[in-house]
Amino acid sequence: MTQKTRNWLLLAPAGAWFLVMLVIPLSVVFIFSFGERAPSGGVVPAFTFEQYANLPARWAAFKNTMTLAPIGTFSALLIAYPLAYFLAVKVKPKWKTILLVLVIVPFWTSILIRSYAWIFLLGGRGIPTLLEWVGIEGVRLINTPFAVLVGIIYGYLPLMVFPIYVSLDKLDKRLLEASSDLGAKPWKTFLQITLPLSIPGIATGCMLVFILLMGEYLIPALLGGGKVFFVGNALVDLFLQSRNWAYGSALAMTLVVVMLIIVTIYMRIISRLGAGREDVSIM
């Protein structure tokens, strides 16, 4: 058996699986997005842009996603950066791994259960009751945009910390010493050296979180109580409740395309930053 046949045989199951479970289904979504709704709930094959033209009907979902996803990403960044900095620069090497693992582990546990924990905490008998004890009454937290934001930060913070940590950990600590030896104030060292060199990590973290948020369903469904809904919630409604597959497919395609555009822009920026970083190392 030649090397080539061997490689083909090794790739065959994975290739077939990707074809049947990824390529064909995504093509069906693409084709259906140009179709018309059948009375029975299926799709009548057609070639029309009607579904795409109707997208503004779900504008509210896009608007909510496009407001809360960036705000959530930015809040997670603000909270994650100091922690990543602490882990990469201040912590002793022997504690680093365990502390880092402690940050990442929650991300790999059920997001459903973790969001549920906040229903519990933000619900009537949780934090609002505590607030009543200190005299603040009538606060309503659950089923508000704030609750969704807390859920987002809680759910995706680990994903933000990790890439920033990696970029700060790679940073040559001698640069920081050199900067302070040359008389720069700590905040100036931070702004001129640490922050610019950690931008790749910041960009990676933000992109990962933002992309996942764009397809988010659970957090708004559980903590937004039907008032704060994302594109994901509109998709569930279209496919599982109102069974409008053609329109739902158009919405899903739009989501994927918007995501791909953002990722492409991100890749461009990163490669440019990468080039910039080499200049720094040459200097």
Binding site: W17, I79, L99, R114, I119, L121, L157, V236
Partner: protein, 272 residues
């Protein structure tokens, strides 16, 4: 700075901790602690719906993690020695599988499979001998395993590749210089080195499949997995029983994750 870190860690762990704490609550009320009891665990474990959902989840997680690990490892090894268009196509599919939101994977699998089944079922029925019940494809445990395997395969390929890339090329070259057959080199050199990564890939896949809600929500048909059960009970209100189930789910994934982490680290050290 240290205080800040402590606060963030508390933020990460207090909500989980509170769920665990209240799962041992003796009282009926979900939010008043009234003494220690494990009765909610007993209640959850004797609830036939919970046990059915747990069984489905375990079968799906085990089968899809196993398929994904076997096929993903095979693909990762083959991709090592391949360049050109085939390599590009596989890289693209892996990239798409990982990047596309779970909800879109769920939707695509649902309408893709339903469409294919609608064509296939009458065809099978027409060629099936009269008097026998023809088999009928429908959404259920099989479609769920297939969908999870697809996504997890991409994940396994990425994990194994990272390990293969970190491997010292000189070792496999030395092995073939010493007249080991390609198969012998694979079994005696490559496999022992990537084995921790394979095992870690299996455990991560298992955890992901076990915890997945959104893909299963679309693809599981009339089957109920544990996350689907929990989701629909949450909609009916917060109960101590959900706290107990949630704590068990968290503990299962934590055990898997810690094992995977230890394996990846030990493997990493050995290679250096």
């Amino acid at each position: 700075m240290r205080l800040y870190a402590i606060i963030v860690y508390l933020f990460l762990y207090i909500p989980i901790g509170i769920i665990a704490l209240f799962s041992f609550n003796a009282g009926r009320h979900a939010s008043e602690l009234q003494g220690f009891s494990i009765k909610w665990y007993g209640k959850a474990l004797s609830n036939p719906f919970v046990m059915d959902a747990l069984e489905t989840s375990l079968i799906v997680a085990f089968t899809s993690a196993l398929c994904a690990t076997v096929f993903g490892t095979m693909a990762a090894i083959a991709l090592q020695g391949i360049k050109g268009p085939l390599r590009t196509i596989f890289d693209m599919m892996i990239y798409i599988a990982v990047m596309i939101p779970g909800i879109v994977i769920g939707i695509a699998t649902l309408i893709g499979l339903v469409t294919v089944f609608d064509q296939l079922n009458p065809l099978i029925a027409s060629i099936w001998p009269n008097g026998f019940e023809p088999p009928k494809f429908r959404m259920g445990i099989g479609s769920l395993i297939a969908a999870h395997t697809m996504f997890l395969m991409a994940l396994v390929v990425i994990i194994i590749r990272a390990r293969l890339a970190g491997m010292d090329r000189a070792l496999t070259e030395a092995s073939s210089d010493l007249y080991a057959s390609p198969m012998g080199t694979f079994i005696q050199v490559t496999l022992p080195m990537i084995f921790p990564a394979i095992l870690a890939g299996f455990l991560l896949s298992f955890t992901f499949s076990f915890d997945d809600f959104i893909i299963a929500f679309f693809v599981a048909g009339s089957e109920t997995t544990l996350p689907i059960y929990v989701f629909s009970s949450i909609r009916r209100g917060v109960t101590p029983e959900i706290n107990a189930i949630g704590t068990m789910v968290l503990v299962i994934s934590l055990l898997m994750l810690i094992t995977a982490q230890l394996l990846l680290q030990r493997g990493g050290k050995k290679n250096k």
